[in-house]
Structures are given as C-alpha cells and as structure tokens.
Symmetry: C2
Subunit: 416 residues, 2 copies
C-alpha cells in the first residue's frame, strides 16, 4: 500500500537522521520523568514478579538492597513478592538497560541527546563482565561496584561531559565499525575511542590522582563499557520513529528473560510478545547450555538500528565469540538482515563490504513474508539468581511477535 | 640447500619467539650506546649530506637547532654541509625512526625489550600528523612540540612505565589486527589500546591535572601514536635474527629518501641498496605527485615482521587510505606477501582470513625467484624541506636490493 510505503520512508528517514550525542551523566531520579518511589525499571516488555526468571529476580533483590528498600536479599525477595515495589519497563521512561536492565532512582544514567529531534535517552553505566547485576549478580562485590559508580565514576563522568561539548556518537560508532565492533557483543574499539574522548576532561575534573587512576583503569579494563552507550544511542534514535501512522518499521525489540517483545511505529507503544528463545552460543569454562537463562535485555535496541547481529560483517572476530560460525562467514549474517530491512545507513558502513551501509529499518512485513527472523548477538546469563554471565551467543527474535504485530497494524488500518 | 633451510628455520623461530614489551622512555643519550656528540641518527642506510633529499635535510637542520648545535636553520644547513655533525643510521644504534627518523641525544626514546632474548630497541615518540619533523618539518611549532615531548610527555611516560610491569606488545598488536590496524598506515586501534594501558599509570605520576589532560589529549588525538611503538617492536624482534650463517631471511628494510636498503641474516650488518622508488598513493587536498619525495623511513621494519602491507587483509579501511584499491581487495596483498615469506605468525592472526597468521620471514630467494617485491604502506613527505606530510601510499621494495643480497650471500657461502 502506498500509505505504508510513505510511512516507512518517513520512518527510515528519521532513523538515518538521528544525531546522538553523549552529553551528561545524572542520577536516574533527577532525569527520568515521573520515576516513582520504590519503582524498579527492568528490561523488556512489562512483567510481574511471579513470571520473572531467576537472574531478573536476583537483580531485583540486589537493587532493592542497594537502594535501601530491603535489609537483605531474602527480605527484598519477600517484599517483591508482596508487591512492595513497582515494576515497569525501561522503555516507558526513555531508558534502556542491558540484560536484567535494572534502573532505579539513585543509579547514575548516561544521557544521550538526539540533536536532530531534541529527545533524550538514558542508560546506566556498564559494570564490566562476569558477576554483575545485569546478569543477575547481587552480592556485596556487585553492590559495592554500583556504589562506586554512583558516588565516584558517575558524578565525574557527568562533570567531565558537561564541561565538554558532548561526545558525538554517530561518527564514533561509524569508526568503530571500521575497527571490528558490532556494538553488541564486541565494543572494544568504541570503548577505547570513548575513553580517548573522555580521558582529558576526566583528568581536568578529578583532582584526586588515585581516584582518577581508578576511574581510567575501570573504563580501560571493560571491553563492553561502550555497550550501554550504544544502547542509549539506539533508544535516542528510535524514539522519534514511534507513532508514524501506517508504518510497519520496528522501533524496539526487547526481552525480559521470559517474553520477547517488539514495538512497531504504526502501533505506537503497544508490545507484541512471544515466549523468548534460548541463545545458541559458546559457554565460559565450567558452564553449559543447562546453566543458561533464556534471552534477556533491552540491548536488542542496537539491532533495531542496524548494529549487533545486523553488522556482523564488520566484526568477523565476534562470529567466533558468539559461536556463529567461521569469521569469514560473518558477512552472511549482514546480507541476510538486508532481506528484512528497507535501507542502509550511509554513515555506518562496513569496509570489508566495500563500505556498504548497515541494514536499517526492520519491516515486519518483510520478516513475516521471508520467515527470516532478526539475528541478535547476546550475552548469556546463568538461570539462577546471583550467578552472572556464563557465555555469549546468537538468538533469533521469535517470529510470532512479528505475526502479531502485522495483525495489529492491519486491524488498526482496517485491512482484512 | 639443507644448510640454508636450517638457517632459515632458525631465523623464523627467532622471529616468532620475540616477546616485545614497552618498558621505559629515556633520553636517547642515556640509553643508546656510544652515541657521540653532535651525532644525528637518521632513517635508512648510511648517507652523506650531499646525497640527502629535501625533507631529510630539513629535519637535520631542525634537529640541530633543537639540540642547540646551530643558531638557526640556515646556520644548521651550513654546519651540516661543512661536516660539523656526524650522520649515522638509527639501525646501527639498536634504534629506528619513521620517515626522516631523527634521533639525537636529548630526545626521549621509547624502550622496547625483547624478553625472549633480552635485547632492547629504541624509537622516538610519534609527533602527530601534518607538519612534523619526521616529514621534514622544522619550524617553531615543530621544535616546540619536540621540547614538550622532551620535557613533559617523555619523562611522564617513562615514570609511568617504570611503575608498571611494562606493556606486553605482542598480544596488544595481535588484538589490533582484529581491529582493523596493520600497524603502518593505520594504528588507531593500537594507539587506543596503548592509551588504555598507559592512562591509569600516567594519572598516578602526573599530579598536575592540566599537564595530565594535555598529555592524554595529545596521545588521544594522534591515530598514529602507536606507529613508533610498532617500529621499536619490529627492531626488537629482528635484531636477534641477525648473523645466522647461511640464512636468506631479511632482518631489515629501510630507506633514507635516496636509497632503499635491506639487511639479510646471513650477511650480518651489510646493507644492500638500490635507488628508492616513488610511492603510488593518495594526496591530501592541495598536493599531488609532483610534490612527493621518494620513499623514506625505517618504518619498513614493520613489514619485515609481517605487519604493514603484509597485514593489509586485517585493515580493509587502509586500502582506500593508501590508494591500494577496493577495501575488499585488501586480502590480495596479504596473500601475495605469502608468496615471498616462509611462515605465518600464529599469534598475529587475521579474523577475516579465518585467523590465518600474518606472512612472516621474507626470504630473498623467494623474492628474486618470483619477482614479487615486498609491499610497503607508507606516508608521503613533501620533497622540499620544512613542508611535512602530503599523502599516503603503497610502494614496492626495489628488486635490485634482493638481487644484490642474494649475490652477497652466495659469495659468502662460496656458491657460484
């Protein structure tokens, strides 16, 4: 239909016009509008405590202790089951969070402004690898790190960024694509580029040499530091694409460890969900598929803007890391994603494909017609609370979400 | 001949066993053995003033002023012509230098130790791009930068490195190869990885916030910062490969802007030279081939250990930068260099080639038999003194050097 084509052209134009800039770090309670007391934002579509998976429950217990809402993890779990906390999706607060995606009032969030449209998106600071809250970790080491992010690194990053003109992320990500990153399971290049951009200003605002050295070492030691920046970038770019009447372009894909949900431009904030799938991947020594939790996190927002599994060709080294086959086959994933997208991003290009742009603008009609599901590169959490990351892999978005969304938009447009 | 095969196997083993670690930065006069007064070390094989090219003369005039050996550039040129300075190759002092390759007593040099063999190699700190001394620049801005390197950055880097265990370079370069660097004309990834490794220790030793911020910004702002580290790495790895009786493996390739020279293991420190060629490449806006100086610098030491043009497949983005054709053709260069080398480096691998190691161990017999000359990725200097960099390109090592070296080794072995 002509009207759908026009709506999708507008959606693609907005996706490509996004101009994300990292401008600040602030406590979530200061910048997330209407974040209520004892409210815990989580990854994925809405979910109640009784249906939450192990790592999500573990993270919720941990963050409740961190916020001082419970005296210990058991107390937190009891309170959660009793309904003492409000649970809401990050996506409803202009925010995103990796894996369990915990966002609460006192946590610092990075602020990414889309300078084309003026909207802002938020994401917490990446904690590092292994036993961390986003993978369900919740012990003293995990909470101490969150306190240091809240008390030291977050405020310092905020002050450094406010003294700068902000860090433009579109060219930084473009450069990362020429350096082997796909911005989901491989962020080593962009993490380094971000540190380069941030370090001089951090040095100016952190006068305690020892604290500064610790801050630099923390960022330098975390190859996934940029992931959360990439996620806020994705959210800042996709939010203005919502609510274009008739558009069949995906504006969000997200998972809470139980359900996979997508949002489509023409149907606004409606979630279309299906049971989440298990990643297929590689496990850290001592772990296997029997330990794995199903797919989880808001991080699929990067695939929604053409990165992650869609940009696999830029990151041949990630193909091995996530168990997706030979490095030389990485281009096949990107080509396949070209089948379900309506454009390419001329500012995010892949040298090995002679500067072809990343496939952008997932059209649910193309997904349903082709039966090709979006490919997602993901981390794998242990299924039990408190354990942390056990591997990394590739997972498919469930096709049922796309079928349901297509029916939803057909209903709205009055098409049989 | 069996004896040559055995000698070359030993040479390859030493090339692959090298374990380079960046351990210190010191004034050249403190660490280069027997560096005489008023001695200027330069890139390439030996050359007298009368045969030096424009940028080499420009750099010599500049460095003489910097060292206080002349009152201005004209005075320096007059003194140089009169024989007031000693000119010697970097290579004879365990050192290497990019382009003009100026090394003098008061300049800080980075110290790379080969922990397998204990030898050390030295290279100055990279000055950045554009109008810099390595490209023949010599005005006040160039000399001021050298003073800052001498007085601020060099001592700080040295103190930071001495407080650390050193920075192991073999894994760092291995990682850079998965991030689009070939370590000659593209060092953005390794420069970032080095900054990540160095920044926390720099923060500990530089208590002046403003000076620290300037140091971090200088390193962060120079995508070629790592080039000089890669060069010292190459020198530290190749020096122990010298003087294996009967070996036809290249231990150095180098150019002074007039002559191209190679050294071969079985003939020790003998240079085999031929007139240097013109790079073919791309020029910065406002410049063209008529401005270009012929090929120059010790930086070809990186090709000697399998990086640079030999590792082009790792760096598809560099192919366009140096005008070597389509990004997707980058692998052809690496495959071609496989024809003239006797091994691959299992610790320096290329994801896009399914982790094939970089071609290592240039055998002059294979070069002469195949007629395939080593491919070198290089910067291009303006032919006049004081102008600086005008482009980047690809150049071939002249085959005459290899013919002459093969005769040399045949004579030494008493083969007709």
């Amino acid at each position: 239909m002509e009207m759908i084509e026009q709506a999708n052209a507008e959606a693609l134009q907005r996706l490509l016009a996004g101009d994300p800039v990292l401008i600040d770090v602030r406590p979530a309670g200061e910048v997330l509008a209407d974040l209520g007391d004892r409210t815990i934002l989580h990854a994925g579509p809405p979910i109640e405590w009784s249906r939450m998976c192990g790592p999500m429950r573990g993270a919720i217990s941990g963050i409740a202790v961190f916020e001082g809402w419970a005296k210990d993890l058991d107390d937190a779990a009891r309170l959660a089951a009793e309904g003492a906390f409000g649970f809401q999706p990050n996506h409803d607060f202009d925010a995103v969070g990796p894996m369990t995606g915990m966002t609460t009032a006192s946590q610092p969030v990075m602020v990414v402004e889309n300078r084309t449209t003026g909207n802002r998106a938020y994401c917490t600071i990446n904690e590092g690898l292994g036993k961390v809250m986003r993978f369900g970790g919740n012990d003293a080491e995990v909470l101490d790190r969150l306190r240091w992010l809240r008390d030291v690194l977050g405020p310092a990053m905020g002050e450094a960024l406010r003294q700068s003109d902000g860090i433009p992320l579109k060219p930084l990500i473009g450069r990362g694509l020429t350096m082997g990153d796909e911005m989901h399971q491989r962020n080593v290049a962009c993490s380094g580029l971000l540190l380069r951009a941030l370090a001089p200003d951090l040095a100016r605002v952190m006068t305690d040499s020892s604290a500064l050295a610790q801050a630099l070492a923390f960022i330098a030691g975390n190859d996934q530091f940029f992931l959360n920046v990439a996620m806020a970038t994705g959210k800042a770019i996709t939010d203005p694409v919502r609510n274009i009447e008739g558009s069949t372009i995906v504006t969000a894909m997200s998972r809470n460890g139980t359900d996979f949900g997508i949002r489509v431009s023409g149907t606004g904030d409606e979630w279309y969900t299906a049971p989440v799938e298990m990643p297929e991947g590689l496990y850290f020594p001592g772990f296997g598929a029997e330990d794995a939790n199903p797919d989880m996190g808001d991080s699929t927002i990067v695939e929604t803007v053409g990165l992650g599994g869609f940009a696999m060709a830029a990151a041949p080294a990630v193909a091995g890391f996530v168990g997706a086959g030979a490095a030389s086959d990485a281009a096949l994933f990107t080509r396949s994603m070209g089948e379900i997208t309506i454009g390419e991003n001329p500012e995010w290009t892949i040298p090995a494909l002679d500067y072809q742009g990343v496939p952008t603008g997932i059209d649910i009609r193309l997904v349903v017609e082709s039966g090709i599901a979006p490919t997602i590169n993901t981390g794998i959490a242990h299924k039990e609370p408190g354990r942390g990351q056990v591997g990394a892999g590739v997972v498919k978005a469930p096709l049922d979400c796309f079928d349901a969304a297509l029916k939803g938009i057909a209903d709205r447009l009055g098409i049989a």
